[in-house]
Each structure stands twice: as structure tokens, then as C-alpha cells.
Symmetry: C2
Subunit: 279 residues, 2 copies
């Protein structure tokens, strides 16, 4: 997948070079590639056609995810210095270029899907619709706005769960959904696969909160303690309850995967690899 | 068109309300709507089908244009206080919400096109491809990066013309192109219509530079003198030559429109209304 990502990006010598270097620095600087893997593995588990589209759509989703990380880190948002073990994009390239690189990646994502030649236009338009909904002002963008301006007031689990859904869940679900569209799955299987991704996403966000309050910048590669002073599921319910909620969500995920009736070994292996060391 | 724009935006009470208010403030706060008019009038001039798609795609293009204005005005970019006769979006809503509103509008644009139900998916995918190319890191985003980090070094007309092309021309051409796709024009007519839009865009940017160095904030509604100290076609060649170049481009535009063999009265009226008072 990394070679496809690299191939889809303009090379570093393309004018304006600083912009393209910033896009490459942000996208190719590591990351666990969980969302594209979800998209690709769902399409493979369906053993249908459309794997090349799932690979490209997965790369597009990683562009979206990276674009969101660049924004989250900006001085006017989380003001973070480290990400994926290196300086954040604005620290390395300046704020204006970081913002433009983020938008360049988001826009590239839509272009990758729109121009995938071998895929039926109806599938591409549907995939684009799903991705736009996930990113939009009632999806990830809402999540970031709420995180910045409302989260500090939260005193109950419900609004935090909703925030986790917007910040993490919607793109996990969109990744699996687009993989299912690529493979031409039947509606019941599509829904089961989306449920699977939802529960994996919820578990993932809780695990991330557990790490944020216990890890160090060396082991996790980004600023820690970013959540100091803002409520999380961990700060509200405590470590043990958060750990238990994480395990419950993983059980629900497994049940959903079973319901999807796919060759799900690859997806199960992905879940094991994400959570094996986390909880 | 304004009622369609208003209808396509989430209303101001949609959570998170500040984000949606910022999107509405930026998009519905005026503007000449030249790009959507280009898109709509091209499709009407072709007297074909696809007018509703051209209307929606035109609204999407206005979302893209507004998103670019919000970014241009940011503290890390032009640091402008006024736009369309009111405070810029970051002055009114804060920097983080302004950035998110800009991305929300860009993303909404793609969603509007992707989910237009009555249009053939192949036309939508083609239109999305055209729009992504125009916005992308070799299009408008490149233009903004070059404007911020390279323009101060320019001493010849050529790189400034290229910058004007990226900052204004590409979206003008994409607007006309998408209008032509909506109407199902033949390739020769599509090319002539794109040429028309290119020349109108070049004339428009030169006229804008003429105004920037002679207007006042009251008459044009945005910060003036933004170009002080950076080279423009006007500063390099002088008022008279810029005015002449503008008129030449309008002549080329008329010739291209004639070549497109459309019922071009609406498009000609648009050009007259844009430039009647400008040059």
C-alpha cells in the first residue's frame, strides 16, 4: 500500500515543491494504515472483484486521515509539536503550507476515487458520497469543532462517546463501507461490516485514551497528555471500566464480523494486531 | 441560485452550531457568484438537458471558491480583516472554526456533486475529476502556496500570469467545463467554452489588480492594498498596458464564445455585467 500511496502523490520535485514535500512528509511518514487496511481487507474477505479500487480508495482514506491529523495539530487547534515520532507538519513547513498540504491531501483523496478508471461510475459516486458524509460538517469536521469548543464542558459519558464516534468511528465505518461497495456486497453484509468497523473504532478510541494518559512521547510518537484537563471516557469512568468497555466492543465487533459471513481471517488478524499490544 | 445555496447548507441550528453558522456566514454573505453563473449559463446556452445539475454543480463551485477565500484571509496567509463588506470569517468566528468551515465547504462541494440523484454517475465522476484537478496541489492550492512564498521574487510577467491562471483561471475554466459536461456538449464546443472561460478569467484577474491599487475598502468591500510591495501585472507593466491586456482577453473570449456555436447571449450579458463597470 505504501508504494501505491507514494505513486498517487505528486513527486517532491513537482512545483510548488514545498507544498508537495509537506504532503509527502505528512502522508509517507509512517502511521499504522488501519483505515486503508480495513477497506482493503473487507474487499478481500468478500473474495469478489474490486480489490484494486479498494486499494486506491483505501489510499484515499489514508489521505483524508492524514489531512485531519495535520489540522488537529495546528497552533489554532491542539498546537502539537510531535506526530508519528517527528515534528508536526506546521513545525516543519510553517502553518500556511501545512494548511494547504492538508487541503491538498483531502482534495487528492476525492480525485483518486473519481478517476479510478476500471471502476463503474455508480460505485465511485456512491463511495464519494459515503466519504463526503464521513468527513463533513456533521462528521469528522463536527468532531474537531466539538473537541475544541465543547468537550471541556462534558461531564457525562454520552457526549464523549458521540465525540469519539465523530472523531474516529465515522471514518472507520466509511472505510469498511467503501471496501464493501468495492466488492459489491449485499446490503445485509454491508451493514454487518459497518457494525464491525464501528465497534473496532470505539474500542480503538478508548484504547488511545488509555495510552494518552499512561504512555510517553517516545513510545507512542506523538504529544502525550494532550487530554490533560479535558474529560475522556478514561477520566470519567476510570482505567478499569475503560478497559472493560474496550473488550466489550471487541466482542461486539467479532459478532458483527461473523454476521457478515465473509472469509474474515484477515480482518480478525488486523484487530489482533491493533489491540494485541494495546489493552 | 442563492436559495439553492441556502438549501444545500445545513441550517444554522444544526450541531455544532458555530461551525454551521460560520459556513453560512461565509457562503451566504454576498459575492458576485460569477463562477456558478458561468457553469449555469454554459449549460443554458447549450439548450440541452442537465440544467439542474449545472445549478447544483455551480453551487458546489461557489462553495469551493468561498472555501478558498476563507483560507486566503487567514492570519497565516493574507491576514485580512474585511471581505465582502464584513469581517472575515476568522475575525468573526476564530481561526480554528474558520479553517474547519473552509474544509466543510470544500467537502460539501464534492458531496453536492456526488449525490445529485438525477445525473448519470459517469457525468458526476467526470465533473468531480475536473473539480479536483482545478482545486488540487497543481491548481488553486498551488496558486495560494506560490502567492505566499514565491510571488515577492517575481520580476517578469510570465510567472505572474501563471499565478493568475492558478488563482483564478483554473476555477473559471472548471466552472464552464462542468456546465458543458452537464449539457452533454461535443468536445469541440467544450474546448471553445473552456477557452472562453480562460480569457474571461485572465481579464477578471487583471481588472481585480487594477481595482486593488486604485479602489477603497468601502467601494470594493475587502482589504485594499493587499498587493502593496508584491508584483502584479499592473505594477510591472503599468495601468495602461494592464487595461489593454484586459480588453484583448475579452476580445479573445468573444471569439471563443462564437466558436462554441451556442446561444451565448446570457454568457455575453454576464461578461458585460462583470466588466461594464470595471474597465
Amino acid at each position: 500500500m505504501n508504494s501505491t500511496l507514494e505513486h498517487l502523490l505528486p513527486d517532491a520535485a513537482t512545483h510548488p515543491t514545498t507544498l508537495h514535500q509537506a504532503m509527502r512528509y505528512s502522508l509517507l511518514g509512517g502511521g499504522k494504515r488501519i483505515r486503508p487496511l480495513l477497506c482493503i481487507l473487507v474487499s478481500e474477505a468478500a473474495q469478489g472483484h474490486g480489490r484494486d479500487f479498494a486499494l486506491h480508495a483505501g489510499c484515499a482514506i489514508e489521505c483524508v486521515h492524514t489531512a485531519s491529523l495535520i489540522l488537529d495539530d495546528l497552533p489554532s487547534m491542539d498546537d502539537a509539536a510531535m506526530r508519528r515520532g517527528r515534528k508536526t507538519t506546521h513545525q516543519e513547513f510553517g502553518e500556511a503550507t501545512a494548511i494547504l498540504a492538508s487541503i491538498g491531501l483531502l482534495n487528492l483523496a476525492y480525485g483518486i476515487i473519481a478517476r479510478h478508471a476500471a471502476t463503474e461510475p455508480g460505485v465511485k459516486a456512491h463511495a464519494l458520497d459515503v466519504l463526503c458524509e464521513a468527513v463533513g460538517s456533521k462528521g469528522m469536521i463536527a468532531g474537531q469543532e466539538i473537541d475544541l469548543h465543547e468537550r471541556h464542558r462534558f461531564s457525562e459519558a454520552r457526549p464523549i462517546e458521540n465525540l469519539n464516534w465523530l472523531k474516529t468511528g465515522v471514518l472507520f465505518v466509511a472505510s469498511a463501507h467503501i471496501g464493501a461497495l468495492a466488492a459489491g456486497l449485499q446490503p445485509e453484509s454491508v451493514n454487518a461490516v459497518k457494525d464491525f468497523a464501528k465497534y473496532v473504532g470505539l474500542a480503538f478510541q478508548t484504547a488511545d485514551d488509555l495510552i494518552d494518559q499512561s504512555g510517553s512521547v517516545e513510545t507512542i510518537g506523538k504529544d502525550v497528555g494532550q487530554d490533560d484537563g479535558v474529560p475522556t471516557l478514561v477520566s470519567l469512568s476510570g482505567n478499569e471500566a475503560a478497559r472493560r468497555s474496550c473488550e466489550e466492543n471487541l466482542t461486539y465487533a467479532q459478532e458483527s464480523l461473523h454476521r457478515a459471513q465473509l472469509q474474515g481471517a484477515g480482518l480478525q488478524a488486523l484487530v489482533d494486531s491493533i489491540f494485541g499490544s494495546k489493552i
